[in-house]
Symmetry: D2
Subunit: 426 residues, 4 copies
């Protein structure tokens, strides 16, 4: 247990530091803005992840611990009904205090207490030790999820500004010359086993239980759909043919007046894209990103294909190493945009874009939620959402895995979402 | 073909007459009201079903046929993008003309033309004959769906009126004395086959292809959840415990201020219910009806159970005869409310309430939509909806079957929706 | 008193009959529609005016009188807080019952009781006699206001229907060949007296007290602004120059996408207008109608003029006979649209269009409201509204007078509203 | 001219410095928040007032002047249609860049250029000199208006924060022991002259022309309505009696659920108030503040009085010296809340609360707007607003005068608005 606690202390420091590194390029004002209800201010993410450790790790376990500030429980609870009342989500951008530096103080104070708790881990009985270490582990994965949210949220915040500021500059982009049609990887179907067995390594509850699924034979594309593919869809009036679209999707794009992916805009007839590295022309070789499920579904129909189910995706991806340009400790060193490939064979499974599947987000057979607040983590969101798989360019290194189930409502696209095609075997 | 055409002519008359019988108790004003966007006026249903026959059966096939009125194509198209522009759905209640009697004339005129077409069926080649007969068949099932919509919509229309008028009166209700706890029917799981094989008898495209599904062992309740069961949930503050609810569901009931099923209201502390037969006290023995998916899901969680998947439901129900108090030709002779039972063994599968499953509405493996307007019938609605099974007290006799997939968004409850519990085998 | 009562009985019959004559061309469905929140169904107007007599005349005075139907007090109260709860205004179009014929029965029943009361007027003491006769008088003027509302509301209802039905047909329109620039009538200003002295003849409370006002010298146009004038404003991009507009007005026309008067639409580049007599090309010689205060104000600014104050208008108009094509007992015999003139000299003061003034609707100096429900008639609406003067083509004959103050919010235009220019004396 | 220019240079520095002094207690985050659409961020006020000088003073007159930043013309234009497109008002709180320090740089840069222009004033011809000096004067009064807006806006911003931060602390409040009923000052009426003669001293265009008005005899209260008076209104269920209210007002308070003045809230049954100096119990002796026109009007009706017209107010107030606790150069030294009085005789006319009149905001007889952008300053807002008079505790010293016409929509109350009663002479 002590070595596990030590290992956790090291990871705890690294993950907490990475959050601060992500916020470092941002001014106090940048960190206070909520550009739409889905977005949370950077400052809020920094405080909320700290509140998570304080509320679930420190206060219930560290003797005599008091809340750092009694108001923070109300301000920085995200959605835990079990824990008590909370500040309304759409008003997170109206809170000027605590300031950025007060939030930094909060982080330091809670970090000290978590470290103290891990130092004193042998004072607790076995059950409590296991509970504490499990909650710290959960808190770290929770914080890594918010690291990705920080990047996708600040991208939206900056994009709203008419001056189009970049999150950072100077990152060189790989140029890839060719854009071959995608190849296909075949699978014979049959009974396959998916999900996490919860035995070794961390997993969220929604990845369990590991269970059997019956598949029909299918094929899956070797690479992601590219911007070039998408320009073909647009040129063929894909955004203007209602029969390509789900009814809800058609109404949504009409109401939102969408005619291209998120963050695209035309300058003198040429499509440009706003990225965290600044504005530049759309590169046809790069994977398309910031498309909603409705758009991904319509594209697949237009292409004579379909989206894969999550079981199909996992079956094909499970054998592959989790690689890709995921965000490491130094966010200045990683591309914060999906990158092109000219390689052949199955690739781009991880670290480029979250890939929409055709699977609504429901519990696996036998799924149950844990007791208490931690049980609110995943299960209660199993409604009106679609599963995405893979992990994207903004996902922290080490955070994703083949069984990881991400989920968003089908009309959303401010996350780094793209797609890979599938089809029934001939 | 001639005998098939004759048989269709007979059924055509019967189905068309039944629509008019359903409208008969209603005044011209009753038939013009749209009490919420989901509801369509009775007059609109009568005209739209007629437009369906005119547009897809008469005009493309009957030589020299002209539209009955050129404006009707715009007014009475429901959602067929392929066919052209249409009047906005939320404004159907703002159209005073054509009047009820002009709609009656429209029905008579199109009936004559369909009859003429069926009389002259041998003038067409084999392919066209098959197409015409298939479209008439589809039109009849379409009209039967609208017969049920007429009843659920007019129920809402009348309920909005502070004078609480009944659709009809004088129907005697069965009194059942006992309300035993529900028994459970077990199933061993394994690979089962569900869906319609499209070989014999009519089916909608969304019921196909028939395909294999892998089930875990499960149990399903022998009867529907009753009002008495639901009063227990309410007494235990089921509408006030957020941890019982999906997050979307909790927000919905808070926003809508729901604390009981649809059409329930308290008079001096006693729960009453508005029905098509008038207002009366809630009967604990009757199946609960007009609950949303969110409510059904929360109830099941409260009861320590879950909703069945649609595959589980169909596997259990497929062996059962389709019976129940479904609406026959004389709507005055059928109960328009689910009825209680004191029998034991698996029952109430059909003809009482549509039963919420846990299955989001998606296409079966290999599902494809037809070309053209008919292809818009089902597939484009496979988003943000949940499957219901069984058929209800307002479903026309002969219209439902074990493979029938009904679907509604999870927050809706103006249809006759209830539930049956399931659970994993111990 | 008896002769006054007799005279009132005769007028009561005439006014009540005219309401029914206005409704006669309309089907039950026409009379049930509420095409926007400002509009009330014809059936509602017929019932509400009856409720007014029942509530304020019959029930408090006729011994042993009972409400015709206990539900009607809730359904047909418009806005009298003193009288009790009421059905929400925006839901008036959702009420299919009572039916048109039940409303007709209601009218007959209340008519009988009012007649009975007037027959028995000498059974009451003097104060009560005066009160009863005053309330019947008020009720008749109230009903005449609703007669005009019936016409302006049904115009909107019919216009919403894509088939553009006419309220009536066959009315010949006067052709006028010339359209001279308007002449100007001058006034020297000084202290003038306006308002009703409440001594002889009926007036609403908001027309009193008669009082002195100090005017600067001014000029007022001899005729109304015509459609030809308005086409000049449109041709000069009047709807596209923000500096011509009040800020609220500019936002309103941008939000509503207005670029022409109400009921105007272009067919192949030619402006047409929907009228109660059907659709026809815009006639440049006719007064423009269905313009909001915002539009009238912008037009006046564009024309280098301004709108008159209500005191200016009344001062000029008071000497003129109240004439014009006002609606008589037979609505089929009157034009229901303003008519052109080629005469010279001050004219078109009454009976064509309500003329926007520049005066916000406030109480005259010394104005007080009556006690009780009748006091809610006018005073509580003195906020965010603008005074209009004159009376229009849909105003019943005998209903308007020089001191009459009509009022509407500045963005509204479904009433028959137009304008006459004014300017400071050189 | 040179001495006038020198005098302006001195005042320019003083006024610009005062703006910065007002912002000094606020963090960068405080200055970025827009807590409702009516509110603008402090940072925006600081930039917009600078843009006003740059756009109307510097760029048209200083040779070779370039915009400080080309994006600022779009970001910091408030409502000048003549000048070009602008950033949407409700999104001012979504702009994190330019940062507070970049805005400070902008202020310094424009200050230098204005100073340079005033230094070189003798290089221009007489007409241009007059124009420049007039625009600088206008810009200073404009900036003073925004100084008051900064205080009323930041009050709302801070109040939204659940931690209830104070803008400043440590200001001692005057305790006044008695609260006598208000006395009344009488006026005989007749023809009076109001408005600014535009001859000496600065005035806004809406204060002109000076003109005659005819008044009836009236009385006006010697002091403002106090919190104690208001508690009496609340205790008499003033917020729950519809007949006290204008119809629009009643709907507004029902929709907004108002039952007390703005910033009031009850703690354990005792009313408290949020002020810029922090939260404290309501003091009955202090003038009530943050009430809407609707509330002021209802209170007056309840009290058997009415609000004064603006002509009545000006007639009585014109003879009085403009005094009161107005904000001087050091905002830490002035009370930012209205203060109580125990003196007798007419008082509290200036420097406590803006006093609602009964007068809708319209142009005076003969009022015309200037050409160009400056003409958009006042005239285009003459719609749906009510005049307030006096000046409040947040108004800069030297900024108000007897003829000053402030105006707000009748439902608003985030400004420092209160009331003084009036009544017709007996």
């Amino acid at each position: 247990v002590l070595s596990l606690a030590n290992e956790l202390r090291t990871r705890f420091s690294a993950v907490r530091d990475q959050t601060e590194a992500l916020a470092a390029p941002l001014s106090a004002e940048d960190q206070a803005i909520q550009s739409m209800p889905d977005v949370s201010p950077t400052k809020w993410h920094r405080a909320h992840t700290t509140w998570f450790f304080e509320t679930f790790v420190v206060l219930p376990h560290l003797p005599d611990a008091e809340p750092h500030d009694p108001a923070f429980g109300f301000l920085f609870n995200s959605y835990y009904e079990t824990v008590g009342a909370r500040h309304p989500r759409p008003q997170r951008g109206l809170i000027s205090r605590p300031s950025c530096s007060e939030v930094a103080d909060y982080r330091v104070a809670v970090d000290r207490r978590v470290a103290e708790l891990l130092d004193r881990i042998d004072e607790f009985d076995d059950t409590t030790q296991e509970e504490i270490l499990g909650l710290v582990e959960l808190g770290l994965h929770h914080e890594q999820q918010h690291q990705e949210l920080i990047l996708m949220d600040i991208k939206h915040v900056l994009s709203i500004n008419p001056t189009e500021p970049a999150y950072r500059t100077g990152f060189d982009r790989l140029e890839v010359d060719t854009s071959e049609p995608a190849g296909w990887t075949s699978h014979d179907g049959g009974i396959v086993r998916i999900g996490h067995d919860a035995g070794e390594g961390f997993s969220f509850d929604n990845e369990t239980p590991r269970h059997d699924v019956l598949l029909q034979p299918f094929e899956i594309a070797d690479r992601l759909v590219t911007c070039g593919d998408w320009l073909g869809f647009m040129a063929d009036r894909g955004y203007h043919q209602p029969t390509l679209w789900l009814s809800d999707g058609w109404h949504h794009i009409c109401g939102a007046a969408w005619d291209s992916p998120g963050y695209w805009f035309a300058v003198d007839g040429e499509w440009h894209v706003f990225t965290l590295d600044g504005v530049r022309p759309v590169d046809p070789a790069e994977p398309v990103v910031h498309v909603s499920h409705y758009e991904a579904d319509a594209f697949a129909r237009w292409a004579g294909a379909r989206l894969p189910t999550e079981a199909e995706w996992e079956t094909v991806a499970a054998g592959d190493a989790v690689e890709g340009p995921l965000v490491g400790e130094d966010p200045q060193a990683a591309p914060l945009h999906p990158t092109a490939t000219s390689d052949s064979g199955l690739q781009q499974l991880y670290g480029h874009v979250w890939q929409w599947t055709s699977s609504p987000y429901v519990g696996y057979p036998g799924f149950t939620t844990a007791e208490g607040a931690v049980g609110e983590y995943n299960g209660k969101f199993m409604s009106n959402q679609i599963v995405l798989r893979g992990g994207c360019c903004a996902t922290p290194a080490g955070h994703t895995r083949p069984t990881y189930r991400n989920f968003f409502p089908p009309h959303t696209r401010w996350m780094f979402s793209g797609l890979r095609l599938a089809r029934d075997a001939a």
